[in-house]
Subunit: 365 residues, 2 copies
């Protein structure tokens, strides 16, 4: 085995995994104990895989406290596929869905919903380059929306909902939680549907988690492509066709570990501490660093900030990369720096970045 | 590292991978050389992943001799998603597509196409429980089909096309090659579109390979969900959204190895030898074993056969499992035994099964 050198991965996703999970996957990569085959090779109809798949489902239920009456589905195609699946299943052609527009991913979700039915943008932060989450006073719901859609964390702009919006009674809340799912306890009962690409907080790319209330399943027209109908997957417990076996295995390992180390309350404490350290470094820099997101809406997952000039930002990225702090360049729609510090991102990496920021400001002041 | 005990995996898929690929993946699972992150964690926008993804694409092109004017796409959702994507992109609501029905997977493809436009079943083997591939004389094309669809290998029934059907001039041939892609050289130029779930001959579950002629891209109506439009993925070289990174990495390793060991001609020689050995054991059993598929249409990938009674078949499965020959139980629609021996299935496993069959027939005659 070669010597393993790992750097700090601040990428917006796919993102860092717990080292213990990587080590367990490596340990058994040639053959699962007692099975005699790699998890990369086992049939999705086999007992060993059922244990993994149903085990992962059970972990989702325990970790998030999923109430009775909800299905947990493991799908493919990422949030992008959900942008279409949600309206294809929940939005009649003659109906209207309400969307709160808080960034690029909300905009993409809106564009797909418009192909299916009516869309009402109930609130938008576009006017201020998505630097905030709309306040309750700004939100104007339509009269009887089929559902209300939100994006709980906005990777590009670095904003995050720290409360759920007040949705009119009886309107299902649909939440794209791709970039902050399970970053803290979640009240599933307040949602009609939650979806999340797995590659940030859950597992690896190629898996999408959907938690959906059962009364919302079975509403799709019969002309809906079979893969895109939630009913197909609910009926077969995510085994209608071959699921992304290895991604579900990694999810299983990640969630088992979270359950064993204090659950989502512990995750929350950890994430809060990491984010506070990093924002303190921004706020304590005497204005050298300044955040993009408004303070109350700052994301715990993606910390966005700027330097006094684009020139300095380029140098910041180049020097941090050389020091093993990778992926800090901000998205082009915001510019500046973005440090993504998802669940599995180690606190030591935050400490390293904070130290780097102080030293950089000192020598480039 | 624990001692690794591997058994012979005759599963219909997901299926066995080359041991060398598993070993290479394990060696680098904590960090790719020179990258400092696991392939499970790297950004799909990173240079290291571009090398993997574009490298895999280049390997597909070299291995299959993909001519200019074709796109190679890496998608999600398996063949099931392609059952819908093909007609959503190629079949106008007022048009007709011709399907050759050779088994359960063709039937599912037909059901999805009917949701989009007209379907004409140009030939079917249903009357004889799909024990054969329809002859040229049986095929009745419609007057101007949007495309002609075939399933090159039928996992459940153990039949395989050993030639391509003669399609009317100008009609694109669409081939679901999920279970025999790259089992031998392939004449891509004779196809309009080839699709294949990766979990049998290519890589792991969660990745679908699509090879599509460029003039067939861009025909989907503008109302098509963005993920289900081939144009979306062609334009962004499979990086419109986060692709299944690890599955593409495994594909990259598998194809690199095939290219280094003689390409598809060598694969063909190997597969032919394995299949011939196994069918010889069936045919040489004095009638104790008898195949389901007609001899001319026998699959090299899935060898289906029966024993004198259901009782003996049960005993055969139980005893072979005990001896480390796993996954031999036939699909319920055929019964009997099914030995899936895809590209990476080792010849030693075939030898072990042949020996087992002889001994079983001797002691249970």
């Amino acid at each position: 085995m070669s010597i393993v050198h790992r750097i700090h991965n601040f990428s917006a996703g796919p993102a860092v995994l717990p080292l213990a999970v990587l080590e367990e996957a490596r340990e058994h990569l040639l053959a699962l104990p007692g099975v005699g085959m790699s998890v990369l090779e086992i049939s999705h109809r086999s007992k060993p895989f059922e244990e993994i798949c149903f085990g992962a489902e059970e972990s989702v239920r325990r970790l998030a406290g999923v109430p009775d009456g909800y299905q947990v589905l493991f799908l493919q195609g990422g949030a992008t596929m959900q942008f279409s699946m949600v309206p294809m299943n929940l939005l009649p052609a003659s109906g209207t869905a309400d969307y709160i527009e808080t960034g690029v991913w909300s905009e993409k979700a809106i564009a797909e919903a418009k192909k299916i039915g009516g869309v009402h943008v109930a609130a938008s932060s576009k006017g201020t380059n998505h630097d905030r989450i709309p306040s309750a006073a700004e939100i104007r719901w339509s009269s009887a929306p089929a559902y209300a859609h939100m994006t709980s964390n906005n990777t590009i702009f670095g904003t995050q909902w720290h409360h759920l919006p007040m949705v009119p009674a009886g309107v299902p809340l649909v939440n794209d939680a791709s970039s902050d799912i399970f970053c803290r306890p979640i009240d599933v009962a307040k949602h009609g549907l939650i979806y999340a690409g797995a590659q940030k907080n859950l597992a690896i790319a190629g898996l999408t988690l959907v938690i959906v209330r059962e009364d919302l399943i079975g509403r799709a027209p019969s002309s809906t492509p079979i893969y895109l109908n939630y009913a197909t997957h609910a009926k077969e417990r995510s085994l209608y066709n071959t699921p992304p076996v290895f991604a579900i295995y990694i999810l299983h390992l990640v969630l088992k570990r979270l359950l064993a180390t204090g659950g989502l309350a512990a995750v929350e404490a950890n994430n809060r501490r990491k984010a506070e350290k990093l924002y303190a470094a921004v706020d304590g820099s005497g204005g050298y660093y300044h955040g993009h997101a408004q303070v109350a809406d700052r994301s715990w997952m993606n910390v966005t900030f700027k330097l006094p000039s684009g020139e300095l930002e380029k140098r910041f990225v180049a020097e941090s990369t050389r020091q093993g702090l990778d992926g800090l360049k901000g998205h082009r729609s915001v510019g500046g720096i973005r440090a993504s510090i998802y669940n599995a991102f180690p606190e030591a990496g935050v400490d390293a970045l904070v130290a780097f920021m102080a030293e950089f400001a000192r020598t480039n002041g």
